[in-house]
């Protein structure tokens, strides 16, 4: 029998429908793949019993002819999504032992469609990071190595991308605040999709920066992303920022026809000192789309340069407030100190519970909101953010999608950037602008660097126009053709 973990979601769906495989077989294969994946530290909690129950229910449903796209598909869930009765800590110590009494809307949508939960996935603490080195549960390894040297999977959805790239899960939920889906997808050769802000409910998703956080998917193909996003997306009255719009059939958008479509190339994304390989990849993408009949149009997004600094005011500001609820009173860690007062409890709990990067951002956020600094930092940033959003609006008057590199480099080695927060922040230079504007974006694997590490291209679309992003992504994916798979070194290491 073929290795069921190598199947894509769309393939598995069709085999399940035909009765060639069962959800139980598919799930069992993935449960053992997850067990064999321990070395990568992607799963912090495994839920095989739940998975098998769900698989059996899925098989019954398939037999009853009531299957949906995700029925019987084993997926991993980023630890950011509340899963009822199951460890949910956003990989922070401060949520020590927290098991929510509720289910996030995104995961509920998956279970309602018959998907199968393999476990909870590692991530940067509270989604703050670009290398998954900021997890309380330790770093995640990228299935892709630079020779025999480990690399980081990117972040913050490091567990999501590693599990999917490494054939331990067929898809994974993820979240993107400034690039946390697209950048790690680029590092692992996976298809990462962040929809328009408001497309997926934030209910039950541990908040990092509320005006930026958006759930999305990591899969091994564009079609899989379309199938999975259709499942998790949708209006939710429990989230005031959720849009009351019907969810399109994203898969139907994959017509393969982009003739006459206008592809924007923003000149400001040519960074000084960007590796030639990235430039070359971008050029290649451009040509592939042109060959497919699209028109390439040079555009300008003049405030691009200011996106990252804007992001590092807005996101920490919101985070400093969102993370104030972790106080040791109602859940999670409590450190009282010796007979301490309530205030001592706050100080000790939050000092012990948050990691360094989270503390750094809380402090920055507190500073930029504090008396005398609000106007100069926060208000200024929200104004620049408006300008960045206006840039995109103007550009999308002229083009249908925008093509850029996803990340300025391939995956790096652990420790390489962890001493310098600014160097780390620069990882998100291409992903952050669209996050600030709330736009949909995808990473499409498009090649490898000289070390054989994956590189990706980013497709950005208009608000609510995920369909076009999928369509162009699909064409690009086809045009790029098959890329190498990572060696399954962890399986042989067992």
């Amino acid at each position: 029998m073929t290795d069921l973990t190598k199947l894509k979601i769309a393939e598995a769906r069709d085999l399940l429908a035909k009765g060639d495989i069962t959800a139980r077989e598919l799930t069992e294969a993935h449960i053992s793949a997850v067990d064999g994946f321990d070395d990568l530290n992607a799963f912090i909690v495994k839920t095989p019993e739940t998975a098998l129950e769900q698989a059996d229910a899925a098989d019954a449903r398939i037999q009853a002819g009531e299957a949906k796209g995700m029925t019987g598909i084993p997926v991993g869930i980023k630890d950011l999504f509340a899963t009822k009765g199951v460890h949910t800590q956003a990989c922070s110590h401060i949520l020590d032992g927290f098991k929510p009494e509720y289910e996030s809307t995104v995961t509920q949508n998956l279970w309602d469609d018959g998907a199968v939960m393999l476990g909870k996935l590692n991530m940067d603490e509270f989604a703050m990071g670009s290398s998954n080195e900021n997890s309380y549960y330790g770093p995640v390894k990228n299935p892709w190595r630079r020779g025999t040297t480990d690399t980081v999977p990117g972040g913050s959805s490091g567990g999501s991308v590693a599990s999917v790239a490494g054939f331990a899960a067929m898809g994974a939920t993820a979240s993107d605040t400034g690039g946390s889906i697209r950048q790690p997808a680029s590092f692992t050769g996976t298809f990462g999709f962040k929809p328009t802000y408001g497309r997926c409910s934030r209910y039950g998703m541990v908040a990092f920066a509320s005006s930026l956080d958006q759930a999305g998917t990591v899969t091994r193909s564009v079609r899989d992303g379309a199938i999975m996003l259709e499942s998790i997306a949708g209006f939710d009255a429990k989230d005031s920022t959720s849009a009351d719009l019907a969810v399109p059939n994203f898969e139907a958008a994959l017509t393969g026809d982009i003739r006459g479509m206008k592809i924007g190339i923003p000149k400001e994304y040519h960074l000084e000192g960007m590796p030639a390989e990235i430039e070359a990849l971008w050029e290649k993408g451009k040509n592939l789309l042109k060959d497919a009949g699209a028109e390439i149009i040079d555009i300008s997004l003049p405030h691009t340069k200011y996106a990252l600094p804007t992001y590092y005011i807005v996101a920490p500001a919101e985070a400093s407030s969102n993370l104030a609820r972790y106080d040791g009173v109602r859940y999670g860690l409590r450190e009282t100190g010796n007979n301490g007062s309530l205030d001592d409890m706050y100080y000790n709990t939050r000092a012990a519970g948050f990691g360094d990067e989270v503390k750094r951002r809380i402090l920055i956020g507190t500073y930029v909101l504090s008396a005398g600094y609000y106007d100069a930092y926060y208000l200024k940033a929200q104004k620049v953010r408006q300008l960045i959003s206006n840039d995109f609006k103007a550009a999308f008057e002229k083009v249908d999608v925008i093509l850029t590199p996803t990340a300025p480099s391939a995956a790096f080695a652990p420790g390489e950037k962890s001493d310098d927060p600014l160097a780390m922040y620069l990882n998100d230079v291409f992903t952050v602008p669209a996050s600030l504007a709330g736009l949909p974006g995808a990473n499409v694997p498009a090649g490898v660097d000289k070390n054989g590490l994956p590189l990706g291209l980013q497709i950005l679309g208009k608000a609510w126009d995920e369909e076009t992003v999928f369509k162009v992504s699909g064409v690009l994916e086809d045009a790029v053709g098959s890329l190498a798979e990572p060696e399954l070194w962890w399986r042989s290491a067992k």
Partner: protein
């Protein structure tokens, strides 16, 4: 008369502004579907949103917006069709999110004015600075356990209106009258029950003093004052404290103080040096509150006649005196009772309202209020209904009983709750208006009191009172005094 605090050297004025927190009458909380009912078991009226569980999000209650707008309209205030919810960040055990959702830069209601009735036809206008919507905190209990504070979140998230006055008040009396007036308006329109004992209305009182003609002094805020009497007392005490400090050459620290009615003092609340850096910023989980003119007009159309307008009508259309009208309109229940009473009297007597209004008002403010007062009952608990009161008054009007007998009948009504006509019937209190019957009695009295008759005829006409008394005595008070007078005079005059 201006309120002056005499210091050892100088005279001082006091300047007062109030922030009134009024709980909005609603079934559910401002941002969650939990009940607002008072007095439930701890933490039972709490949703996971109110407990600030990770990933929980606020959704706004339409009724709270509507009541905020109605309240603004009732105070003639500007209604802002665009307003924003902000987060006010601080840590406290009963503040689960670590921030209060409130409105800072863009409140729902702007400037307005409230007219105070200062007696003797004098009025005083107090400016309203703004009204904003916000959520209440939970409740901390410090006296239940030697080492622990207990936290109940039932109130967490209950909708409040914060009504902020301008510093327009210059005496404790004015401040008291202001609170009374605000309470009256809120109860008229039903946006708050005004129950100060249960905490559904409480005032923060800002007090400063200055020598006549000087600029505003430094103010202190007296927190959570929960009765009109305490508002007045706390101002007297705080103003005196400030004057004493200034006269000794000291200066006032701007701070929050606690009023202790038992000790008759105000004292500084535990110093929170930076507690005032609330780091307000727009809540990214919510969007701006927007509505149109039609919404405002519908809210306006739903307003009842307000106390000022009602008072003017009582004076102008019904001929009540200013004082009585003020008393009647001060409390909505009283005004409602009066109007029901008057309606019933008009129906029963078929007289013009203006002809019976004063009599009805006098009976209500004199007899009924007196009896209620003595019995310690509110108008809502009155054993005599408005219709029953009208029954009594119409018996007087149609001459069935005298005003004198009516007092006795009322006493029995108040004790037994029986209708006036039943009591009159049972006790045989019907007024005797039969001229033949009364004439016979008069003749008999004149016959046995010849001495007095002669004195009368000799010019001591005051003796008519004696004869009336004798007739009344002989009839057990039931003789119609009009008829008695009418018959008696010609007979005495001979």
């Amino acid at each position: 008369m201006t309120y002056v605090i005499q210091g050892a050297k100088d005279d001082f004025e006091v300047v007062i502004g109030l922030e009134i927190h009024a709980q909005i009458t609603s079934n559910a909380k401002l941002f969650s579907g939990a009940s607002t009912e008072f007095g439930a078991e701890p933490n039972t009226q709490v949703s996971l949103v109110d407990a600030a569980m990770p990933g929980m999000l606020p959704t706004i209650n339409a009724e709270c917006i509507r009541q905020g707008v109605r309240t603004g309209l009732a105070m003639g205030a500007q209604i802002n069709k665009f307003s924003v919810f902000d987060r006010k960040n601080y840590f406290y055990a009963d503040l689960p999110q670590g921030y209060q959702i409130s409105q800072f830069t863009h409140p729902i209601v702007g400037e307005g004015v409230v007219k105070l009735d200062m007696g003797d036809g004098k009025t005083k206008d107090v400016g309203i600075e703004r009204i904003h919507l916000e959520q209440d905190a939970g409740k901390s209990m410090h006296d239940q356990h030697p080492q622990m504070t207990y936290v109940d979140l039932n109130r967490s998230g209950v909708a409040l209106m914060e009504i902020v006055s301008k510093p327009d008040m210059t005496s404790p009396e004015e401040a008291g009258a202001y609170v009374t007036k605000i309470r009256s308006i809120l109860r008229y329109i039903g946006s708050c029950d005004g129950n100060m004992e249960q905490g559904s209305m409480r005032a923060d009182v800002n007090v400063s003093v200055r020598r006549a003609g000087e600029p505003l002094g430094t103010r202190c805020e007296l927190k959570n004052i929960n009765s009109v009497r305490f508002v007045r007392q706390s101002i007297e005490i705080e103003a005196r404290r400030q004057v004493d400090i200034l006269e000794e050459g000291g200066s006032i620290d701007q701070e929050t103080r606690l009023f202790d009615p038992v000790k008759g003092e105000t004292r500084s609340m535990r110093s929170k040096e930076e507690a005032h850096d609330y780091r307000y910023f727009p809540d990214p989980d919510l969007l701006p509150v927007e509505f149109d003119d039609a919404f405002v007009e519908a809210a306006r159309a739903s307003l009842p006649e307000l106390p000022d307008v009602k008072k003017a009508r009582l004076v102008e259309a019904l001929g009540l005196n200013d004082y009585t009208a003020s008393v009647l309109v001060a409390e909505k229940e009283q005004a409602d009772f009066f109007e029901a009473l008057l309606d019933a009297v008009v129906t029963a007597t078929k007289k013009e309202a203006a002809d019976v209004a004063s009599k009805a008002a006098n009976w209500l403010t004199g007899d009924l209020f007196g009896a209620l007062n003595k019995a310690g009952k509110t108008i809502g608990e009155s054993p005599v209904s408005a219709v029953q009161g009208a029954g009594l008054l119409s018996l007087i009007e149609d001459g069935t009983i005298s005003g004198r007998i009516a007092k006795d009948v009322f006493e029995i009504m108040f004790e037994t709750g029986k209708d006036a006509d039943v009591i009159v019937e049972e006790k045989g209190l019907k007024q005797v208006s039969d001229t033949g019957e009364i004439e016979a009695i008069i003749d008999e009295i004149i016959a046995v009191n010849q001495g007095q008759v002669e004195q009368y005829r000799a010019g001591k006409t005051k003796l008519i009172g004696f004869f009336v008394g004798q007739v009344m005595k002989a009839t057990g008070g039931k003789a119609n005094p009009g008829v008695v007078n009418q018959l008696l005079k010609p007979k005495l005059d001979g």
